[in-house]
Amino acid sequence: MPALSFSGTEARASGVKLEDITKRFGKLTVFDGVNLEISPGELFSLVGPSGSGKTTLLRIIAGLEVQDSGRVYIGAKAVDALGPAKRNIGMVFQDYALYPNKTVMENITSPLTVKGTKKQDAVRDAKEIAGLLGIGETLDRRPGQISGGQQQRVALARALIKHPDVFLLDEPFSNLDAQLRFSARKFLKDVQREFGMTTIYVTHDQSEALSISDRVAIMGSGRIHQVGTPKEIYATPADEFTATFIGSPPLNVMHITISGGASTPLSLPLEGLADGNYRIGVRPESLVLGSGPNEAVATAFEYAGRETIVYLGIGGVEMRAIARDVSGMSTGQTVKFSVQPSGVHVLGKEGA
């Protein structure tokens, strides 16, 4: 990674604040009082399943949608009355929205030329930023003539060239193949570190969100379920939605009965829970196979490279576990295992 320094770039980071945002499309209420605060200079992800409203929220910040009530602040300024052009934001769209009739150079310079910047200066800036992003050779071509990865960098360059206060990305990597996505993610993180701009990133891919973000907001059906660092989200999910949405393979959810300090059908390291029935989530990676108080039958193996996902049947429930070493295990065999306390989440108590 070459050092990313861009002339005239000083960190112009502004925080973003959303206050009581409500939004309706016809009869459908998308948001009913959403609050969110994003600190200056952080890389913040909005993550949730499709239909959760994350893209709509991003478009409200951009000014492409107008909320029905509530306020949007960029820095200290309320921007509700301003159109997208006046908010000084940069945005990368899901399929990039590069103007197909303009060259890469014209695409990158368009935010400057439209403001009346001298063409010379705009071209100089564009060359510089294109060089930094590794698309210097594509400047004379049209978007249709360059690869998907290059298009994505052109979109980044176009969004960055005007030194936006806030940088918005709407699933920018979803059109890239897995290999490219991995390097693009790292690249974005480096660019963001270097430029230091406040970045809001929308994705449905929870592992992507956890891996690149400073903080994450988990969204489901128009509600923000939890805001926190990736670590907090993973270790202490605030509710069942968050707990089940985060993690791959997903959380094992089961019913547990506790009586006299012992839990069935799974013996879990739970302390301080009263007797009764509980819904429990157990992270697959917290199951340690080999020895322990629990016994289950291995029903299937899914080889996943470095590790293997082992399906375990216990008391009519199927659980997934992750094991590094499965030599000596076979289908139908009984496996002993223990559960690490950090991977156990109490999701709720059920009827007495």
Partner: protein, 539 residues
């Protein structure tokens, strides 16, 4: 005093409805057959399309004229063809059959529109659905009856309603087939021709206006249905890439139909192809042969001697009209695009459905409704017989249609480009001018061609706004256009002052009318397809 006794009123209503509904029903049936044939084939798609599309290239005025010669008792070529296969000669334009003959010409002229719209509907069936159907073992009949046609239902309905609307409002065909001027025979007069005769021949404006309003009410029925079908169609959701789920019949349930269906389709389309091609062949044949070959018994059906001097002489004669029509059409096209493109953009982006509904409804109103008001205005403004009169009135017909098709086009244009432009700092107007307009260029070109063609072959307005009707002078002056020039050669015209019965000149003027339309429609074919019918199947 009425031209028609009250008793005839019912007959004229019957003629009008019969012509509009009959034309729509038969041409949609034939158009659907050709669309299925083209859609189902891998090869020769273009050639078959060209046949089905051919009548579209011949303006109504020209096709009516050429059919007049085809129908000519004795010297027309159809009767000997019928007799050669043992059928009796038919008095096509006689009182008992003329309504059916008129409808037949209407069908001939309307097949292309039905074909284009239905083919667009069939081709918008997602490829995966088509592939899934063939993997499931569906053959032709199974696929079209249970999957493709149900999915393209919207296109079939649109085609039917549009052709019915054009049938109610059609002036050119019944006017020319009933003898271009004078009192149209009650056995074939449609309400539009009746209204025209009342207004401009009998000088009975109130009665003509009443008839015009009556036909407007008739046309409003399909017009409002078309508005409903188009405007209230659920908005396409960009994200919903879900495939439509047709109700697949159990495989094999109608298996027995597949083979007969295929044979019937091929034989039927082959026969209809002859019906489509022969008048075009006749047009070319008659235009380029000495007129001494026209009135022979039995008629000569094959080229024996080819000459071009009559054609060239007709071009020279028509030169003032060609220039007039060209200038007027260009001006009308420019005005149409300048006004319609932004209007369509706002309708598409702001979802102004009411405005779109008004446009489609305006399009569905027969031009006879407007003609008297405009005629009076132009008399008042002293603009009769000027280019200006036509230039400022013709956009009345081109704008609604172009707004409609351009709205479809803008709807299919991804919104993200404009949003990116807004984020980049463009103003709405600037993003429209420098981002949207360049992207919309193919749509604008197509719309421009449509406007040009519309204007090029308009007959009613030039007829009314040029000089006084029925006092044709020669050589023509003022705002006479190629269409008014061509009808001078109508053999049955009561208003013609030049030598009648010159088929060579008639056909030549028909070709002059058709040439720009042929050129433009070959270029625009793909665009027209896209513009007329988009969506409906999706979402």
């Amino acid at each position: 005093m009425s031209l028609f006794a009250q008793a005839d009123f019912g007959r004229i209503v019957y003629n009008t409805v019969f012509f509009a509904v009959g034309t729509a029903a038969v041409s949609v049936f034939i158009g659907a057959a050709f669309a299925i044939l083209v859609d189902s084939r891998r090869r020769a798609k273009r050639a078959i399309s060209l046949i089905a599309y051919l009548p579209y290239m011949i303006p109504f005025t020209a096709s009516a004229l050429i059919w007049v010669t085809l129908f000519n008792p004795g010297y027309g070529p159809i009767d000997p063809l019928l007799q050669s296969i043992g059928l009796p000669a038919i008095d096509w334009l006689g009182p008992s059959l003329q309504l059916y003959s008129l409808t037949m010409v209407g069908v001939w002229a309307s097949i292309p529109l039905a074909f284009l719209i239905i083919l667009a509907g069939l081709s918008s069936v997602p490829k995966q659905v088509k592939e899934a159907a063939s993997v499931d073992g569906m053959e032709m009949w199974d696929y079209y009856s249970s999957v493709a046609l149900p999915l393209a239902k919207g296109a079939v309905i649109t085609a039917f309603l549009m052709i019915m609307i054009l049938g109610f409002g059609n002036f050119d065909l019944p006017y020319i087939l009933s003898g271009a001027g004078g009192v149209p025979p009650v056995t074939m007069a449609t309400m539009v021709v009746y209204a025209y005769a009342e207004m401009f021949y009998a000088n009975l404006a109130p009665q003509g206006l009443a008839a015009a309003i009556f036909v407007a009410l008739l046309a409003s029925i399909p017009g409002l249905l078309l508005v409903r079908a188009t405007v209230s169609a659920p908005k396409k959701e960009r994200r919903a890439s879900r495939l439509p789920r047709p109700s697949f019949r159990l495989p094999g349930s109608r298996r027995a139909f597949n083979a007969p269906f295929r044979y019937a389709l091929y034989i039927g389309c082959a026969l209809v192809s002859l019906f489509i091609l022969f008048p075009v062949y006749w047009l070319g044949l008659v235009a380029f042969r000495p007129q001494s070959l026209d009135y022979l018994l039995p008629p000569v059906l094959y080229p024996t001697k080819i000459i071009t001097d009559v054609f060239l002489q007709t071009v020279a004669q028509a030169f003032p009209e060609i220039v007039t029509t060209f200038v007027i059409s260009c001006a009308v096209t420019a005005i149409t695009i300048i006004l319609a493109a932004p209007a369509a953009y706002i309708i598409a982006r702001e979802g102004k459905r009411l405005l779109l509904g008004i446009m489609i409804y305006t399009f569905s109103l027969p031009s006879i409704v407007f003609v008297y008001g405009i005629f009076s205005m132009m008399v008042g403004l002293r603009l009769i017989n000027t280019w200006t009169a036509l230039i400022i009135t013709e956009p009345l017909f081109t704008i609604p249609f172009v707004v409609w098709t351009m709205t479809n086009f803008y709807n299919s244009l991804p919104k993200q480009y404009e949003e990116a432009a807004l984020v980049d700092g463009y103003s709405r107007i600037r993003s429209f001018l420098s981002i949207v307009m360049p992207l919309a260029r193919p749509g604008l070109i197509a719309a421009g061609m449509v406007a040009f063609i519309f204007s090029w072959h308009l007959l009613l307005f030039p007829l009314v706004l040029s000089q006084t009707p029925f006092s044709f002078t020669f050589p023509p002056v003022g705002s006479n256009t190629v269409t008014t020039f061509a009808i001078l050669f109508d053999p049955d015209s009561t208003g013609g002052t030049i030598s009648n019965n010159v088929w060579t000149q008639l056909a030549s003027s028909g070709i002059i009318l058709a040439i720009p339309v042929i050129i433009l429609s070959i270029v625009a074919q793909g665009y027209l397809l896209r513009g007329l019918y988009s969506g409906g199947v999706k979402g």
